[in-house]
């Protein structure tokens, strides 16, 4: 399962946001393996790192490469096949049904087999009965699973999760941790979180951030 080449390689990354420097010369390599956690208090720069790595924020200096390809220079289509992102507030499209949310990107990309994959994913995520509902008719947990299906249907090599347990109760949170471990079998999961209990139940390795830099890296027990 372990590859020689890093899946994600961030070198000397500097990111500004709203005139303030948030990430300061950060370097990080993630190889294919168990779910990977990015820990840190709020304001430590972990979400900014995630957005910059996903190509959603301009970077001031440095590079982000996924499987050797520079994220900043990729066409959005190509990027979406390498990197997926499940937002903290899910950002489902409110005018589309759950099914349409999942199928929008693959149908625009004319991906073959996307429909059957979407059907399988929604079944697996236990949202197949909600296909015709609009986001405002779904619970938080259901929305999250639609958002996960929406990202997974593009079969990205890395799937980022931004604070996935923030809005969930403890039972749903446990279910989610199991789900992330299962998802990690098909794609590398990277979780940004400040919820130690949640991270402990799914990600055995990661980094801890502080002030826009990496404070510690390695096995979870070592960085917690």
């Amino acid at each position: 399962m372990h590859d020689e080449r890093p899946l994600l390689a961030i070198r000397d990354l500097w990111v500004r946001r709203g005139g303030r420097r948030i990430i300061e010369g950060l370097s990080l390599e993630i190889r294919r393996g168990s779910p990977f956690a990015i820990l840190g208090a709020s304001g430590s720069g972990k979400t900014t790192l995630l957005f910059a790595a996903a190509g959603l924020l301009p970077i001031e200096r440095g590079s982000v490469r996924v499987m050797g390809e520079d994220v900043g220079e990729l066409h959005p289509r190509r990027r979406s096949r390498l990197l997926g992102l499940v937002f903290q507030d899910y950002q489902l499209f409110p005018h589309l049904t759950a099914w349409e949310n999942v199928m929008l990107a693959p149908s625009l990309q004319r991906r073959e087999g996307a429909e059957s994959l979407a059907r399988d994913l929604m079944k697996e995520l236990r949202i197949d009965g909600l296909a015709g509902r609009r986001p405002h008719e779904l619970s938080g947990g259901q929305k999250q699973r639609v958002a996960i299906a929406r990202s997974l249907v593009l079969e990205p090599r890395i799937l980022f999760f931004d604070e996935p347990s923030a809005a969930l109760d403890s039972r749903t949170s446990e279910e989610l941790a199991d789900l992330l471990v299962r998802i990690n079998e098909r794609t590398q999961v990277v979780v940004v979180s400040h919820d130690m209990a949640f991270v402990e139940s799914c990600a055995p390795r990661g980094i801890r951030m502080e002030g826009g830099r990496i404070r510690a890296a390695g096995a979870l027990e070592a960085i917690a």
């Binding site: 190509g55 959603l56 979406s80 990197l83 992102l85 489902l92 409110p94 929008l104 609009r134 593009l154």
Partner: protein
């Protein structure tokens, strides 16, 4: 007596210098008002006759849609005499000489008084009738020099000036139209009105207005036919034909048909200009179609401009966006009428002639875009930035993002305000009648001036506007409820 134009349309008088023409002065010099008429080139055998169709009994549109009146009858006699076919062009009074000078029409047979100012621009035939300003009182009114004697005159005519000079102790009241003044006279709120002598006679003859002509006319004037200064041959032909007509019994017949023997004791000619609801409704519906046409095209242009404005407001750097915002505020803070006049009368001065219909559409487009632009901008801003981030993370291109994510979410925010703007536009489109766009309000006024039924016809017109605008408002509300139910709109 001009009837039924209680709007500040400067049509009230046919006499030179009797009106304040705010906007016409410059344009007469520019002389390219053009496109007042549809720019069809006349064939040799046609005589294009300009008139307003809103000056009964001289020229007016019957409920059947047919042009009638003394001028029209005279024109037909003259056309027959010079073997040309009369083609009537209904124009607004203000631009009628410009249309003549631009050769959009060949003659004006519309009760135009000969004045030195006009004679300097065009050639006049010999006069074909005489009239003048006349004091008409209600029966039993006291002497003019009695204290508190009230005289009504129409705004924008020189009747007020004349009345003030001749009756210094009287109270002079101004009205937007002759109808309003006549109604006040009949209601006892006025003792007298000053208006055209023959118009007053006709009002008595046709409608039993009960006007009593008192004293000699305040002044007299001669009505003649202007032609282009280079049209020597036509002028000679018309003069010959007029000589013949005025000397004939036919002329006396025509005159008596409209003005009786000048005492107001005549009888209503049978079958002439009879009021008909069916005919009126048909004309009003046709005009409503034009109102919708000009409004719909205007609002479509407005939406297109609004999208451009919203894009500029959102995308330009701060100082440039401020300049755009200032432009939007400027358009919002100036009257639609002035914008319309600037486009229609102002642009020809720099060589750009839009024509009536286009000018009206462009004016509506510009005006409505200033409101719609803000609506589009707010609709865009109401969409969370996360939606754009989500689109990009899913690999949508900018165009796909706008089309499939941003656009559909803006729609609920746009629909109701846009429908409201459309309703406002349809109502405001009545203003474009001032540049001779023959829309619903203008049609109503023509019918009223021919039939003297302001109450019924204005009510009918209001109902027609309502029949169009109410469903739009209703649809807007329903859509809003639907969007709310779908979770696409928040309170």
């Amino acid at each position: 007596m001009r009837t039924g134009i209680p709007r500040p349309r400067p049509l009230h008088s046919r006499t030179g210098g009797r009106k304040i023409r705010l906007f016409a002065t410059g344009l007469v010099l520019a002389s390219i008002v053009a496109s007042l008429a549809s720019p069809t080139r006349a064939e040799r055998a046609e005589l294009r006759v300009g008139l307003t169709g809103a000056y009964p009994p001289f020229n007016y549109v019957e409920p059947s849609g047919r042009l009638s009146g003394f001028d029209v009858d005279v024109a037909k006699e003259l056309c027959a005499a010079i073997r040309r076919e009369c083609v009537f062009e209904v124009l607004q009074w203000d631009g009628i000489l410009s249309a003549l000078l631009a050769r959009r029409i060949d003659v004006v047979i519309g009760s135009m008084a000969v004045t030195p100012q006009r004679a300097a621009q065009v050639r006049f035939t010999r006069p074909y009738y005489e009239s003048g300003a006349q004091l008409f009182t209600r029966p039993g009114a006291g002497p003019e020099d009695a204290p508190g004697f009230r005289v009504g005159v129409t705004l924008g005519t020189t009747y007020g000036e004349v009345a003030r000079k001749r009756f210094p102790s009287a109270e002079i009241r101004t009205y937007k139209g002759d109808t309003a003044a006549l109604q006040d006279l009949q209601a006892g709120r006025l003792d007298a009105i000053v208006t055209d002598r023959l118009v007053g006679f006709h009002m008595n003859e046709r409608y039993g207005a009960g006007l009593v002509a008192r004293r000699e006319p305040l002044f007299r004037e001669s009505m003649a036919i202007p032609v282009h200064p280079d049209d020597e041959r036509l002028l000679a032909e018309l003069n010959r034909a007029l000589d013949e007509l005025l000397g004939s019994a036919r002329y006396g017949e025509l005159f008596r048909r409209y003005f009786g023997d000048g005492t107001g004791a005549g009888v209503v000619p049978e079958g002439e200009g009879d009021f008909s609801w069916a005919g009126s409704l048909r004309l009003l519906l046709r005009a409503l179609g034009r109102t919708l046409h000009v409004s719909a095209l205007g609002i479509l242009l407005g939406i297109a401009l609004a999208i451009v404005l919203a894009f500029l407001l959102l995308a330009l750097p701060r100082p440039l966006a401020r300049a755009v915002a200032f432009y939007v505020d400027f358009v919002r803070s100036t009257p639609f009428l002035i914008q319309l006049f600037t486009l229609y009368f102002g642009l020809p001065a720099i060589g750009l002639d839009l024509g009536t219909f286009t000018a009206a559409v462009v004016a509506i487009g510009i005006h409505s875009s200033s409101y719609l632009g803000e609506i589009v901008k707010v609709a865009y801003q109401s969409i969370p930035s996360g939606q754009r981030a989500a689109s990009r993370s899913l690999g949508l291109t900018f165009r796909e993002e706008i089309r499939h994510v941003i656009g559909p979410q803006m729609l609920p925010h746009l629909t109701t305000p846009s429908l409201n703007t459309l309703v406002a536009t349809i109502k405001d489109s009545a203003i474009v009648s001032v540049i001779s766009v023959h829309e619903l309000t203008m049609q109503a006024q023509q019918l009223i001036s021919a039939s003297f039924r302001p109450m019924e016809l204005y009510l009918l017109t209001a109902v027609l506007y309502f029949a169009i605008t109410y469903p739009l408002l209703f649809a807007g509300r329903r859509l809003e409820r639907r969007y709310r139910a779908k979770g696409l709109l928040h309170a």
